[in-house]
Assembly symmetry: C2
Homo-oligomer: 336 residues x 2
């Protein structure tokens, strides 16, 4: 088993505080840590543009603190490890992202995050903070069947939304248009994940789930939520052959489509393995007549030291490609 | 133990070939894989500029294939896993990087790499390929005492050289000046690493070294070479307090100096931990009156899924800061 219980922290109680202080100390030209624990852009957007906010449980770094910056999010509201931030903190985040053209609150679909976001929106209404809109995002095809897409979980593929929506808001697009763009990217995105090992919670020190040495799980969520099922470990090519057809069928992605590819490292996969996996993805896409625009391979949304990856595809048009290629300057995402 | 013996590959014999094909398939706008297994820039430098080449054993991804691109290396000669490429392949790399102003062959100091580089230079002389210069680079203070710097190993801190030398060669600097710049950056760089766990070799499937559950090793090399010694696992702050003073004394870094900081992820450290570690680094530098310019935190030179990190400092002047901030476009290093 590849679970690592020894971690270099100070105290369990101070993980979030220490991490945010350390993160902000590393990137003073990109982000600032506020007194109330928000990560905000070091250089605010110009007035009259839509502000973008997201809240999330921590423990998935670089998500989402590493995605705050020019051409990306304006404010991240980081919760405790694997815990959605409370509604009051989300309201504080919305206020910090208000440049006079409204604020779009992005929610990666998980029960706690959605509930707290809905309460935050009610608080904003009561306080007269407006306009504020919410967009709920999901991509994991293993968490609910086709036809029930809004019940699916938000996972690594949402990075397609973060990057392109961030670029879109910089163009001065309206709040309604930003929300529509986020939905359009979401509706063209599909993800399926795989885990080889579990990981240890930094809070409890305990293994998050059990995984036999010769098995892998297809479809696991970012907190170890159950997926499609266990499978004996097979080769890299066979793994992609198990996963990719499910993704292609789901949207479906068709001959002539053009796609972005994300191979997200859940924690301790080697890039060596991810590159080997990408070889088969590229080969299979070419065979299906699907054009490959660009790829991202690396740790964008992690679950501690879990060994695994998520394969995400996003069907893009000319406008999305423009947004994909637009400048960005976050701590973990620069000059795409 | 956090060693992971199950890895998603196809066959052990085809790891390098599959990995290079997959890497090139992901980044066609950045790199190209040649028929003889070199990774070269997709868009060559303009004629009359110095070409930069490096060879290295694979298994340390993104090093060095991810560092080929504009403002970085022109050619990487990737060897088999943990195995230096042979002299003939290095010569092929030198030929591929020749834009008419000479080629600088960079060598990260390890016995096999140095020997093969020296033979490659002799082959170039015999073939009349010139001018070609070699620069040997090292940074790991645990591998030889102060005063014997040229005996030290090359480790993660050499990324300071790669980034700034790459930018310098783009300015049209001469071969002699490029070599001097590489040496100057090297001579201002110091690294000390730490390992919490071992890893499994992707070739043999076996654990590379043994590490008790409650210990860590300070000063380990990128292939598990022995360091300063074992230590009981302590807190993040105490870990930095064990490591940073040794680095500061070695150069030495003094009050008023300005530094770049690298916290390189050896494989499966979480960014959560690395950010917590950085908090203490920033605090201690401030206390010592050393100015912090910018930081890099992430997986730049890995040893498979080993849990550990390297802390590197580089003292910079105005010219180096300019080179640090210059554009770059590699698969794993963009728009710094």
């Amino acid at each position: 088993m590849a679970v690592r219980k020894k971690k270099l922290i100070n105290q369990r109680q101070t993980i979030l505080r220490d991490m945010l202080a350390g993160f902000a100390s590393a990137y003073p030209d990109v982000v600032r840590l506020t007194d109330d624990g928000l990560i905000v852009r070091a250089r605010p957007k110009s007035a009259g543009k839509v502000g973008l906010v997201i809240g999330n449980g921590s423990g998935h770094e670089p998500a989402m603190i590493g995605l705050v910056g020019e051409g990306l999010f304006d404010v991240n509201v980081p919760g405790e490890i694997f815990t959605a931030p409370g509604p009051e903190r989300i309201v504080a985040g919305i206020k910090a992202a208000d440049y006079g053209a409204g604020v779009l609150l992005c929610v990666s679909h998980h029960a706690g995050d959605l509930m707290n976001a809905e309460i935050a929106l009610e608080l904003c209404q009561a306080e007269g903070i407006e306009p504020v809109e919410m967009v709920v995002l999901y991509d994991d095809i293993s968490s609910a069947p086709k036809g029930n897409e809004p019940e699916r979980r938000g996972t690594a593929g949402l990075f397609f939304v973060w990057k392109m929506l961030g670029a879109y808001a910089e163009t001065g697009a309206s709040l309604a248009d930003c929300k529509r763009m986020a939905e359009a990217i979401r509706d063209n995105t599909r993800t399926l994940a795989l885990a080889l090992t579990s990981c240890a919670s930094p809070i409890t020190g305990e293994t998050m789930f059990e995984m036999p040495d010769d098995e892998m799980e297809i479809g696991m969520g970012v907190h170890g939520e159950v997926g499609i099922g266990r499978h004996k470990v097979v080769s890299a090519d066979e793994t992609i052959d198990l996963m990719l057809p499910r993704l292609l069928e789901d949207l479906p992605f068709n001959t002539g489509d053009e796609v972005l590819v994300l191979l997200n490292n859940s924690g301790s996969m080697t890039l060596m393995e991810l590159y080997i996996l990408h070889r088969r993805v590229a080969e299979r896409l070419a065979q299906a007549g699907i054009r490959h625009y660009k790829s991202w391979i690396g740790p964008y949304a992690t679950t501690q030291e879990m060994a695994g990856f998520a394969l995400s595809l996003c069907r893009v048009n000319a406008r999305m490609k423009y947004l994909w290629d637009a400048p960005a300057n976050g701590a973990f995402l620069k000059g795409v």
